[in-house]
């Protein structure tokens, strides 16, 4: 059975009853036995994700406004930029996802809306995505079974992000800015398929699936 107990008051107000822990998400140890798992997987819940798309011809003005507000602007393609408590992920020309985690979100969101004002559209889309966080010494071995981008740690350095094909799905793959973890975000309806693809690839190295949680 799906766990719907974690539906927030805000989600309930919008009539959204998304499952906090999807039915396919089985926690525990899988695959090869051993003292330490080669890969640790966790479903990330509780984050907020804004889709930001600059209005035509307003990209430079948006950069200036974000830099004035947060001190940095997400000018580089294929990189995650941390600024003002957000992680700005480049997803395409003049398009970003801004991920917000942790406390004091309302203040940050207000600042972001103020910085963007009429220079871009900003829509909260966290409900549309499932995010799996992968850590462990064998995590790149798992990912290279599926994706056709260079994951050499020198190339796919901390903060790198790509949108690419993974097992037939369009997946946003990124390495966290501290370099310790990889996150795969996929459209929510593909979550089960992505979970299956990742766990099957990780089983030979020993996999620990943690309960869903904040990161």
């Amino acid at each position: 059975m799906s766990d719907l107990s974690g539906v927030s008051e805000r989600d309930a107000a919008f009539g959204l009853t998304l499952e906090t822990t999807p039915h396919y998400y089985g926690c525990g140890r899988r695959g090869r036995a051993g003292a330490e798992p080669g890969v640790v997987l966790q479903l990330v819940v509780g984050d907020e994700r804004f889709n930001i798309e600059a209005r035509r011809g307003k990209t430079d003005e948006l950069f200036i406004s974000l830099r004035e507000t947060f001190g940095r602007a997400p000018i580089k393609p294929m990189r995650t930029v941390e600024a003002g408590g957000f992680e700005f992920i480049s997803i395409g020309p003049s398009r970003w996802h801004a991920i917000s985690r942790g406390p004091d979100r309302d203040e940050r969101h207000a600042l972001l809306r103020e910085a963007i004002h009429d220079l871009a559209t900003m829509v909260e889309i966290a409900h549309g995505f499932i995010v799996f966080r992968l850590t462990g010494p064998m995590v790149t071995e798992v990912l290279i079974k599926h994706v056709r981008v260079d994951l050499d740690p020198e190339v796919f350095s901390p903060g790198a992000c790509v949108t690419t094909e993974l097992h037939g799905m369009t997946v946003q793959l990124r390495r966290t800015c501290d370099g310790d973890a990889y996150e795969c975000a996929v459209a929510r309806s593909y979550g089960g398929s992505l979970f299956h693809a990742l766990t099957c690839a990780a089983d030979p190295y020993g996999l620990l699936v943690l309960p869903a949680g904040d990161v």
Binding site: I75, G92, P93, S94, R148, V149, V162, T164, E165, T170
Partner: protein
């Protein structure tokens, strides 16, 4: 085959879908029953030159940045000589930063 997306860099062909020859859309006017206009639309939509040599095509980076690209490809060798964003180049600064 690899396509060098201006935003994402070199990516595998499997991430893209092709939308055929890059032809200019005919300029429509009020009289859609005009024979010449209809003929020009039929030509643009259905007829392809299919040359043996350089060919300009629209490709869509579906499993990537979801940009429409203009690709110049040699149909005999599949060598790609040029890739650019189909939209205006207002993001040049972003690309080179």
């Amino acid at each position: 085959m690899l396509i060098n997306c201006p935003f994402c860099g070199l990516r595998d062909l499997g991430e893209f879908s092709v939308n055929g020859e890059a032809v200019a859309r005919p300029v429509a006017h009020d009289d859609f029953d005009d024979a010449d206009l209809r003929a020009s639309f039929v030509d643009a939509v259905y007829f392809r030159d299919n040359p043996a040599g350089l060919h300009r095509e629209y490709w869509f980076h579906a499993a990537g940045c979801q940009s429409w690209l203009l690709v110049e490809r040699d149909t005999r060798t599949h060598d790609i000589s040029k890739v650019e964003l189909a939209r205006s180049q207002e993001h040049d600064k972003e690309m080179t930063s």
